[in-house]
Symmetry: C2
Subunit: 755 residues, 2 copies
Amino acid sequence: IWLCNVPFFTVPLARAHGKSFAHRSDLRQAKRILVKLGSAVVTRGDECGLALGRLASIVEQVAMLQNQGREMMIVTSGAVAFGKQRLRHEILLSQSVRQALHSGQNQLKDMSLPVLEARACAAAGQSGLMALYEAMFTQYSTCTAQILVTNLDFHDDQKRRNLNSTLHELLRMNIVPIINTNDAVVPPPEPNSDLQGVNVISIKDNDSLAARLAVEMRADLLIALSDVEGLYDSPPGSDDAKLLDTFYPGDQHSITYGTKSRVGIGGMEAKVKAALWALQGGTSVVIANGTHPKVTGHVITDIVEGKKVGTFFSEVKPAGPTVEQQTEMARSAGRTLASLEPEQRSEIICALADLLTERKDEILSANKKDMEHAVSRLSPAMLKRLSLSSSKLNSLSIGLRQIAVSSQDSVGRVLRRTRVANNLELEQITVPIGVLLVIFESRPDCLPQVSALAIASGNALLLKGGKEAANTNRILHELAQEALSIHGVKDAIQLVSTREEVEDLCRLEKMIDLIIPRGSSQLVRDIQRAAKGIPVLGHSEGICHVYVDHEASVDKAIKIIRDSKCDYPAACNAMETLLVHRELLRTPLFDQIIDMLRTEHVKIHAGPKFASYLTFSPSEVKSLRTEYGDLECCIEVVDSMTEAVDHIHKYGSSHTDVIVTENEDTAEQFLQQLDSACVFWNASSRFADGYRFGLGAEVGISTARIHARGPVGLDGLLTTKWVLRGEGHTAADFSEQGSMTYLHENLPVMTRNFA
Amino acid sequence: IWLCNVPFFTVPLARAHGKSFAHRSDLRQAKRILVKLGSAVVTRGDECGLALGRLASIVEQVAMLQNQGREMMIVTSGAVAFGKQRLRHEILLSQSVRQALHSGQNQLKDMSLPVLEARACAAAGQSGLMALYEAMFTQYSTCTAQILVTNLDFHDDQKRRNLNSTLHELLRMNIVPIINTNDAVVPPPEPNSDLQGVNVISIKDNDSLAARLAVEMRADLLIALSDVEGLYDSPPGSDDAKLLDTFYPGDQHSITYGTKSRVGIGGMEAKVKAALWALQGGTSVVIANGTHPKVTGHVITDIVEGKKVGTFFSEVKPAGPTVEQQTEMARSAGRTLASLEPEQRSEIICALADLLTERKDEILSANKKDMEHAVSRLSPAMLKRLSLSSSKLNSLSIGLRQIAVSSQDSVGRVLRRTRVANNLELEQITVPIGVLLVIFESRPDCLPQVSALAIASGNALLLKGGKEAANTNRILHELAQEALSIHGVKDAIQLVSTREEVEDLCRLEKMIDLIIPRGSSQLVRDIQRAAKGIPVLGHSEGICHVYVDHEASVDKAIKIIRDSKCDYPAACNAMETLLVHRELLRTPLFDQIIDMLRTEHVKIHAGPKFASYLTFSPSEVKSLRTEYGDLECCIEVVDSMTEAVDHIHKYGSSHTDVIVTENEDTAEQFLQQLDSACVFWNASSRFADGYRFGLGAEVGISTARIHARGPVGLDGLLTTKWVLRGEGHTAADFSEQGSMTYLHENLPVMTRNFA
């Protein structure tokens, strides 16, 4: 109240630069950043003791950003807490120096504490706190300066100008100002009394001090760290509480604040008011957790990199729904999709197939736009994957019709029926998995294909395509939604904005049931790392082997090796290692293999055993676990089929492995013993593919050992549920005193109609 | 060489206390601990900048251990590196103070650096390093002392005694000594020249200094932190390199050292020699990574808690194999098990069933031992779960025979056959998953049951039981191995030592394919958290609902609600929330339900809508997502079946949900729309159980949405592989220029024989 009338605190003056950022990703451009550290961040310990490690990490991040050329400022709390600890220690020491030094015990801990006055603590703690900051920043050759302010400094215009000019001078000299309230001389703050007006803000607490300074200094970004994750729409801990990723000033009415707050003076409501005030003044704000061990290392740099940490305050409300809203819309429409008749899902897919040819011109013109933009940026191979043509669309359309046919018998198929007891019947039936997230690079033809598989299996689908195909993906997605509209399930397939970070999507643990990355091994590995709690379907490596037995046919061996290696060397099902039975060395077959590989320009690397057999060997492999993905392969010698199996188990990736032999016994043993997802006899490794397997299409090839394995088509997008129909049956009916007994009689099920 | 002859450095003298620990878990008892920080740990930066956060975290951990009453010492490196940075900065500043201060740019970074002398750097860095340690330790009220030593200090007996007594005095006063070599006055170390003799050690580098001091000070534990994970059996990075968890002096010949080392003077070989020397002197040693961000927070406390971090040096080689060796043995024997005929697997299970009754006395006497030990420690409910009886063993045996029967048709079943082209045939067949890890608490009857399921499905099995059932588990496991021996696959089932930490097992990512926790929700949650990269089968919550429709039959509703809640309230398939159609309020049915629940002593909590309908309502629920696991439940009112479905989707755990109604349409819609693993009509939720479903037995109930769902029996322990048999077919044969076309003709498969 006592500050309300000072004109300085009204908004118009502060709103001078007014350039807060609209999107998180824009935060990368923030040049001047103010980091506000709540006292929980500076002094409260986590599981491992005190807050020192956390503070050091924050200093690291601030110094790093400073070294990138940004202008960093810190508003710190914690002096009182620091001082408490120090004074306690000093008083006890002066009381009993001798006992403490000679006891050999931690008696200090047990001694009762004198009552300490907060302002004295602040005075005592301030120097220790600054010494710590200085010792830490010195390690980064970063200089710090201490600034203590009281609210009176803001009343006086002269003082305010001095402060302003001091701070600017410090920033200009690459010095990090560390600002705190001068608690030793100001009265202890009263809670919350003057935060009634939105346009007026006091500097009673460090939240408002930080907001005030950020606007005054025209900071681009204010990062307010405390021990809460951010802003929730209801009191955290209640059933429906959701952390808000982005908060818009207009949304304020949708927030319910808790009655009590865990975060010092003012609590969350005061934090939000301070944040909104700073936002109105043109400074972007993120409120985030600076204490949780998991984010300790990187919370500040993560925010500056645009990652979804805490709550971002933005004045610009985006037109479309958020990705969380998209996911909810997709799940809801997906449930309707799953409850449609199979014929209806089939109709939707056929409609999409029609649209692909009917609206060819629109698609190709969008694709042309992407191609024009990409031509100078992408490699020729990538460009080829990006481009669509009339004939590609035709064959896509044909493929979709095949999926439409197989969709007739997917959802709701009865796999097992059991008469558990009289009038108690159990069915296990296929159901969709739920919400799929497919992340794909470049290839826009992936979009209708995956959409068709999702529709056929009754799954909701989130699609995240690459920026390079944005225009093509947009029109293809529109067509998919147009087809879905036939049966009122338009929202079941959603295209996620290219602004969204893959890593953020991978954290939507409770919203997404399965992630399917379609792209490079690196993409898959990145996603496997990022996706904690959501299963990822796919494989990160394809180290495929062809083993040529001593009883192999020359013709077949040559044909299969050539095809496995050369048909498409970058494919995951291409051969990487050729295993040759020892008896074949120095035979004409072996020479023919080498000749063929030379003719095809395949670079050969020798495994250690192979190298030891040769006088002049090719370069020895660095690792037998290499995926070359190019016209290169490793050759290694084995003594027997069993040794080949052992080699593959040890160095392979359980993707696809081949034996070439005329001996059926050897072949069957190989097929039986080998653990890989695909095991072939006298056939090229290149057959490991959903289309070639006759699955219609695939969402990918899985090397996982649970759920779907190998090429994954429609079946891999289904799970099951158990349906039990009774007449009031209870478990107690079957107890020793009960009247019923289990029958467990298997009942016939309709098997698939393989006409 | 120049120190070899000093008698002080021979082992006998140092070996005075000789009490190194045999097992990692013993490290918890370590009272005096020396932590050696390599220069990489102190100064080398990770992805987020410099090493400050890491160092602060180490200080935190040391201070915490010190506060626990342990005596902590630090041997630190890093003075040279610190000094380099400082001198560089100083020189540049003195060269160009003005430009640097007024440029506003980070020009310092770009300026060329003068060459700095290492000893000058050490002198300049030492004070900064100590200041940093002191500033950090001060935050924990922990006092530090600086000790600089040269190797000459160890030559002179007087000096040595002084050093020794100084260190002891410091420890007595709860001061952490921080020790470094006095690099400013000693010649720079020469690499490795005097480490030829094992019994002699120099203090040229900090590894040997630390070892020397640890033994001299009779430390219980020396933790040597650098930037390597520990000791590998081959040079790290090579195909076969494995991190050694424990290293025994006799194993030294099995190590291949790399030619080059990344870790400063001496490298790994010198580290190992220093460690072995300390071990001979009676100090336990752990070499671990102190730089990797992931372990930064806790590497020291993790080691002291006995966790598997880095390489532990032990003189006592345990009798049995390590868990890694057990896993390898299990996988190998498991592959043989999977290749047996179904009848053979069935024989093994029957043999185990026989042994359970034949060797009843042995089993019961082992169980008696466990019971006697547990009687004062466990609750009556837990004791009941631990105890075995003759009749329990009989029914176990009967259950096993049922599994034996169903095992006939598990592994190698053909699920799909396709004629891809002429003479190119594809089969999808069932195969075991691989190596299962089952973690179970208390219940020893779990062991034979799970073993039988693993044998039936051809999987290798690691069993980790609770300490309280150690004797019973041991004899049951012996019997399982005896049965497996019939067909030479004894090792396929391994019992993991009770010493092993569950968390360590969950990290064997490349060795274990599936983890199945059987125990409390807390156990499941802990394992889900710990198991990164290994799928976990199970559920952590069972929030099951019964929805009573307005067209429900009174009798059925009462029976089903009573059974669902009261039959076994602690079970995961017990009802937690009762949803009642609004029209039922104030009807006789509703009163009867309430009366029944009161008679059964079920405590009722009201959902918000239910509470709003009542004048005097029971206590309102805190959360609609509560699993009471006791004679308690929540009652909530819904307006329709659809609202019930929405409520369950929002607050349920997708485990088991029930509708009670006489209206078949309503029921079928509920069964169709609801997403849960088990959906029941007019039957108790308690039927969600593998045995009751007729699956023979279950390994658990899964609420996952991929792979197995609901009660998981034999089928959930199987995956598939694809077998393709050709005659030299290549993908190129099917190209536009090729001679072949895809047929994709579905061939009949033998379906299960449901006689």
